[in-house]
């Protein structure tokens, strides 16, 4: 084994080892968000505090969009006419802004955590 592949193997082991920690997350509460005409529907989404949730983002437009949020530290490209899954939280109560990276003028929204 070369020096480099040993190093890579060690990193891979470390990464793999960490992988399965929270894989069983399918029974988390789900929330849906739609992108239509480069706008979010609804534009305000209320989520529970202190809980991990799944956000299902459906892009009803034919063109790609990127669901992005600095406040939530999330970014995910949703190709036209598909749905993407984003894990969020657990979050503290507050307001978190998000936007569509490809249509920032119109695609704006916020998450209110209560």
């Amino acid at each position: 084994m070369s020096k480099y592949s040993a190093l890579a193997a060690a990193f891979a082991i470390a990464a793999l080892g960490l992988a399965p920690i929270s894989a069983a997350a399918e029974d988390l509460p789900q929330f849906t968000l739609k992108i239509q005409n480069h706008r979010f529907v609804p534009e305000t989404l209320t989520l529970p505090a202190g809980k991990r949730v799944v956000l299902l983002v459906t892009n009803a437009d034919p063109t790609p969009e990127e669901f992005e949020s600095y406040d939530l530290d999330r970014e995910k490209i949703i190709v036209g006419n598909t749905t993407g899954k984003v894990y969020i939280g657990p979050l503290d109560p507050g307001t978190y802004a998000f936007f569509g990276d490809f249509h920032q003028d119109t695609a704006k929204g916020r998450v209110i955590v209560k």
Partner: protein, 522 residues
Amino acid sequence: MSATLIIVFREVLEAALVVGIVLAATQGVPRRMFWIGLGLASGVAGAMLVAAFAEVIANTASGMGQELFNAAVLFTAVIMLGWHNVWMSRTGRAMTQELKAVGAAIRAAERPVYALAIVIGVAILREGSEIVLFLYGIAAAEGTQTTSMFLGGVLGLALGVAAGAAIYFGLIRFAGKHLFAITGILILLLAAGMAAQGANFLVQAGYLPALGHSIWDSSRFIPDRSALGNLLHVLIGYTARPEGIQLVFYIATISIIGGLMFALRTPRKLVTAAASLTIGIMLFGASGFSGTAKAADLKVYSPIVEEGEYAIEVRGNVTHDNNPAKDGTYTQVTEFEITPTSYWHTAIFGEMKKEPFGSLQYKATGWENIFQLTPQGKYWADLGFYAEYEWGQKGGAADEVEWKILAQKNVGRMSFIINPIFETKVGGNRSGGVEFKYAAQAKWRYMPQIEPAIELYGEFGDIGHFGQWRDQRHQIGPVILGKFNMADIGALKYELGYLFGVTKRGSPDGAFKFSLEWERHF
């Protein structure tokens, strides 16, 4: 047009800064333009492919393909950046030893430019695919604005490239003879930031726990969306509200790569390596960590020490349990170790911990010592003594002293270790008496790289009144250990294991433990 300009500029900026730093770091390498050109070209081609197959990628791995792809791309870049830096430190030494210019030139030619070409390739691939998708979307939807969009895109591209050129020429012009020391630090920070970002993608995909949502919040001072925030994000991985896991990856990356660089440098260059390590330690200490939590560090100690060895170790464990009060406890220890004599091993370590409902906190700084009492193999068993002092990091947290007896018996390819442990709190806020704990291991030395073992850990409680069995902590499970020798750059040791809880109330249902250690001899 302005929206197009801003988005294209932002994506290009990320890739361009990486390219600028890489160009500066490879100054003077023959044929570097070939490699860098190859990285650029394959990055652009890859970006188009990724954009074309965006839907396919997104649909793999239960809809988490995009996150896994991004994380894989980022970790590839981290390994390549780390590899380049470690190589540079190692050869920096050889270069100063070979005073002949010819020797140095040959050395320079061997530099792993391909590693940095890969970094360029993946940086462009990631950012470029977003640009392609974005432009495709606008072109497909609003045909009337194509010209102004095209103009915005070209302008954004030009500005991004200009920023990359600025950092490149700035470094070349002003860094002078410190050029490689500075690019070394820039690359180290770049790598740490990418590792943290990669970890965030794994959290987003549900593969890693976040370990706390906002460890701190500096969004009022430097918002993520500000120009400065963006720049710092690319250069040092700045995030206004980091998750605990991002800090873990950030610190681990700096510790491992920075530590390797530090250890392999010639004395003349110690200063710069010390600077990079100091950044790590500052981040470690200055991020507002504090805590009192009682940690279960899961490690079995051998009484055998090896003179002249020095090492950096990052280890930790995370629990899971149906009871939320015991679920998701995370303990991490980062150690800097040295063995100056044939019988004495000593180390400084920092311990972090996350409680089930809390976020990751810095718990204690400690000093550990191992004394090997009997020469290896001379008596029926090998014996050692372990003494440790831990400074609690929060007002109200007591200091702790821990003693362990280290006993090891080898039978053929089997090795048995037992550590009886005594722990007591001392100083101002002490409470309780002496606690009795243990750690034990039965290991089959199958081959150096793979040694399967069974490990046991437990805590009976206060000596004199142990309390009920079910309230005590007892854990047992399989662990794999191993060591990879990498010739003159040292050895990498790892441990991976899973420990089942034996008692119902006192133990977590399960705990996953890991350890990664790099060691080397004087």
